[in-house]
């Protein structure tokens, strides 16, 4: 079969048999693809650092007859996460991006909007400043996957939330006004809702430079993660680790 060529993001690898690696790639061409990299575990000459999670590569792979897994022929590194310092917070943030993509993307379904989002966010994910790119990524992923409810009106009564308080609950699909909020709801501030609206109008670069402490939009991220975890029906491993970063 013919060799396919596509830009791709390496999501994760698993050891397979003695010497091979099973690689999950997010390709621009056809979305999430799982492929076998022969001898990649022992001889790193062929793939080098190209199979590190979140490496932006040009991948060459081919489908195999009657086989679910493609064969990864080679990878050319376009941008490596190792080209800037891997601080502890950055390592967790990178892992979070990889886990979200791996959990949320269906197999073999191209999604150029998500691909462009990842490339843009990875370019901002440097040093120890992780909260802005993570917030931007979670927000846009939730929207691009079709899981984001309307943030400006109450799901119970339909009234506008602009200018008023808004609440969310782990088991509810949207925001609620003060009158309709459930027991044990959390509040999402008007400021965070405003930030979300801004993030939908501007590229991630435009938020760089300004300080973004962990507390900023923490309520928004909590709401987004609850929404995402409800849809994938599992807890994200990296969400708990992000929470622990000081």
């Amino acid at each position: 079969m013919a060799l396919k060529e596509s830009e791709a993001i390496v999501l994760r690898t698993y050891p397979l048999r003695e010497a091979d690696l099973l690689v999950t790639l997010f390709t621009r061409l056809e979305g999430k693809v799982r492929a076998v990299a022969r001898s990649a575990k022992k001889s790193r000459r062929r793939f080098g650092g190209a199979l590190e999670p979140l490496t932006f590569v040009r991948a060459y792979y081919e489908d195999r007859e009657r086989q679910e897994l493609a064969r990864l022929d080679s990878c050319e590194v376009l941008e490596s996460p190792l080209s800037s310092e891997v601080s502890y917070p950055r390592a967790i943030a990178l892992g979070h991006v990889a886990e979200l993509l791996d959990e949320l993307l269906p197999e073999r379904e191209a999604n150029d909007a998500v691909f462009r989002l990842v490339v843009a966010v990875l370019a901002r994910l440097r040093g120890t400043e992780v909260w802005m790119p993570i917030t931007y990524f979670e927000l846009w992923m939730t929207r691009l996957m079709g899981y984001l409810p309307e943030l400006s009106e109450c799901i119970a009564c339909g009234r506008t939330l602009n200018g008023g308080r808004a609440f969310f609950h782990a088991l509810a699909d949207g925001l609620m006004c003060a009158a309709d909020k459930r027991l044990a709801s959390s509040e999402i501030s008007a400021e965070s809702r405003g930030l979300a609206a801004q993030m939908f109008r501007a590229p991630v670069e435009s938020f760089a430079g300004a300080p973004w402490p962990k507390a900023q939009a923490a309520d928004l991220r909590k709401f987004l993660l609850q929404t995402l975890q409800r849809h994938i029906e599992k807890k994200l491993v990296t969400a708990a680790m992000l929470e622990k970063i000081s």
């Binding site: 650092g49 190209a50 979140l54 310092e85 390592a91 979070h96 886990e99 491993v237 990296t238 708990a240």
Partner: protein, 199 residues
Amino acid sequence: MSKFAEPMVRLIDELKKLPGIGSKTAQRLAFHILRSSDDDAEALAAAVRDVKASLRLCTICNNITDVDLCVYCSSATRNQRLICVVEEPTNIAAIEKTKHFNGVYHVLHGSISPLHGVGPEQLRISNLIRRVEGGQVDEVILATNPTVEGEATATYLSGQLRRAGLKVTRIAMGIPVGSDIEYADEITMLKSIEGRREL
């Protein structure tokens, strides 16, 4: 119904748990064991039992050893003031091959791995901190793998160790990025130790 007798199924199932062993290989190994002499089979079973009964972790460096302290920590000729930190016990062999490292080791038993939920608290870091806080150490060489996980671990450790006011170095990246130091040849490994830089 299974096509094998129950004890055979049990052996195949146990063998399948080993890394790199699939169903076919497990069956092949199980039949090999079945055909081998009683003595050979007994020796294999005894070796498996003994390795668990007699091996433990060195209380100073976490290396796998049959005596506490391990050969490195109890050695009078090795420089106990120079510690090389590695991810796995198997990494020690790669560094010993160079024959140019005369310090001692510290084995973390893993690396920081967010996708697997492994943070610093899951690694054997606390006894490293205790080792250096005693003031008996001049330098710590971080020889974790040149991967995202190994780098994250090294960055984290250097932050913790520098607070204790000692020299912290990272092996040079003559080792290809993304690889495992276990597979590095001795020249590359030697160059990596010699070319280490201070963090």
